[in-house]
Symmetry: C2
DNA sequence: TTGAAAGCGCTAACAG
DNA sequence: CTGTTAGCGCTTTCAA
């Protein structure tokens, strides 16, 4: 049977409340006493019981990560999870994962979840991060949350990175290689990611003095197949692009597939670049030029910010984290073998 | 303030204990009463408080998934997590994730984790699933666990699939295409996955009457770079193989990279196949022939089996789940363009 | 088959 | 700065 707080109190010759104070980091304990108690804790190998703590303290020490049911190997979610767990490490908080089907009556179902687990805070990733109804319900329940890459400004705690700037940067790279006809396979309509990346694409063209040609922009849905289809459409144009910027890596792989099927060499006949910096971008041949989305950092910061807002009851602003552009072999000057 | 069990009892005109019985599925409640109580539960929108439940019942309703810190987008872990969460859905159990660095003094650190969270059960994936010291400590703590793909026979609850047979099957496919010189890039020494897949490779050769040629087998470590290096070694042989079977998809991608660098066409000049059926196998061009490891099913079954062992205190045996071979464009008859 | 009372291990008030 | 007392919401004895 593990030691209880009472055992520690007896061992140290103090009351349980004082031990509790030490446990919870209250300043009002004399250094000498604190040291003695900490020694007892170690001596007895004491670890507080999470359930008892939550029940009495009306706190769960739980941070819930709400995400949609991840389709085929969403490394995005996995990476965010890693960041979230990392942020919890060393704190009394723990993470619970909760996949919610996006199609569901989310705002309603959230109540049951909150009632059972009483998470102290939530972290939302897209698309939930953009679900206005859901966020409103959370506000009503008065439970702190932070969103990752929310499109909505109403969310007060949000972490993200400058997707628009990142997209512009990668397209500027294509321009600097000499490309003038640059195709874009856009993301799913309604997603912030689509809008930002498309805007960045246009920013770069504008900056380079290249007229926006809407025949060079096709819709995708972030899935591989839509990248294949998008590339097919673009390459069938009378004057096909010499480079394609896909709004994510999976679609970029789709474009590479279409090029492969047509016998087009990459980057000789066509340059391709993606977005997200998923593991696959390093595994394909040639390696895919992409911009790495700092998922871990986002997950970590989302937790840190929301926990800070609980502690200090000060409302943190939107945070931006840096991204990195990876230049690989899938992009080169047009016509260069 | 959410409803408490007391409120439900009052609403239904029974004692809290009877409500508790219904909640916990005890048979000894008259059907009529049960129905009435269930109605009250719905009416009040009652959900039991997890902390109170754990504290009083000395149960946590938690299943802990122990995995090693996942490197770059381990879709394996993610898929297992999805399966674990799926198995918890609809049960009172919840999952907690716990990444443990493999190098650590695991058996010792597990105590603190168990003391804090009191998980009712654990699920272990490799390499932890093969950590004899860790399993022994869990036995001492008398906490039920199930392993996924454990190499060790001492683990009583284990789920996996027939990796050896699967590997043999994919190599048989290469043989059936006409390949006689088939290279193998093996996994990291000490891993069950290495041993089983290598054995399957040898089984297939034996069955086809092809002599085992140790110059066609090179060591890898499951990472992309080792696939590149392995392929380089194999292709530099005086008589290089016409096909390469890599022990996982990442290394197969490495082999494809090396072929790409040498200007070798796949599958015209070299057939390549992998193992695991990770998302990348569909994204590369040409699509990678591989065998799909049923990670979700494994995670799901691992939870179901261990929970069943708690309920029925009957020791389930090792379970095997089916796998699927995916034939894609990376394999063809030797010399066929 | 059902109910009353006694905790589970901890923290929150309030005193001292 | 420290201790006492009373619960948190549920399940578990044990009795009826």
């Amino acid at each position: 049977m593990p030691a209880r707080i009472e055992d520690v109190a007896a061992h140290a010759g103090v009351s349980t409340k004082t031990v509790s104070r030490v446990l919870n980091g209250y300043a009002s304990v004399r250094a000498k006493l604190r040291t003695r108690i900490e020694a007892s804790i170690r001596a007895l190998n004491y670890v507080p019981n999470a359930s008892a703590r939550s029940l009495a303290g009306n706190r769960s020490y739980l941070v819930a990560l709400l995400y949609d049911n991840p389709m085929a190997g969403s490394s995005y979610t996995m990476e965010v999870i890693v960041g979230v767990l990392q942020a919890c490490k060393g704190t009394p908080y723990n993470a619970v994962l909760h996949p919610f089907d996006a199609a569901d009556d989310l705002a309603a179902r959230i109540d049951g979840f909150v009632a059972t687990h009483r998470p102290d805070a939530l972290v939302l990733v897209p698309p939930h991060a953009n679900n206005a109804e859901l966020l409103q319900r959370l506000d009503e329940l008065d439970i702190p949350y932070s969103t990752i890459s929310s499109r909505l400004r109403q969310s007060r705690i949000d972490v993200g990175f400058d997707e628009r700037r990142a997209a512009a940067e990668i397209v500027e790279h294509l321009v600097s290689l000499g490309h003038r006809r640059i195709g874009h396979i856009a993301g799913l309509k309604g997603h912030g990611a689509r809008t930002w990346r498309l805007s960045g694409y246009r920013d770069a063209l504008r900056k380079a003095g290249i007229a926006y040609d809407e025949s060079l922009v096709v819709d995708g849905d972030f899935a591989f197949a839509s990248g294949v289809a998008g590339a097919r459409t673009l390459l069938d144009r009378r004057r096909p692009p010499t480079a394609i910027f896909a709004a994510n890596d999976d679609m970029a792989c789709g474009a590479m597939r279409e090029a492969y099927e047509r016998g087009l060499a990459i980057p000789g006949d066509l340059s391709v670049c993606g977005f997200d910096g998923t593991p696959v971008s390093q595994l394909v041949s040639p390696g895919l030029t992409t911009v790495h989305q700092p998922c871990r950092e986002l997950g970590c910061l989302a937790v840190q910010n929301v926990l800070q807002s609980i502690r200090e009851s000060v409302v943190p602003q939107q945070s931006r984290v840096p991204y990195r552009v990876h230049l690989r072999a899938s992009t080169a000057a047009p016509g260069k073998p």
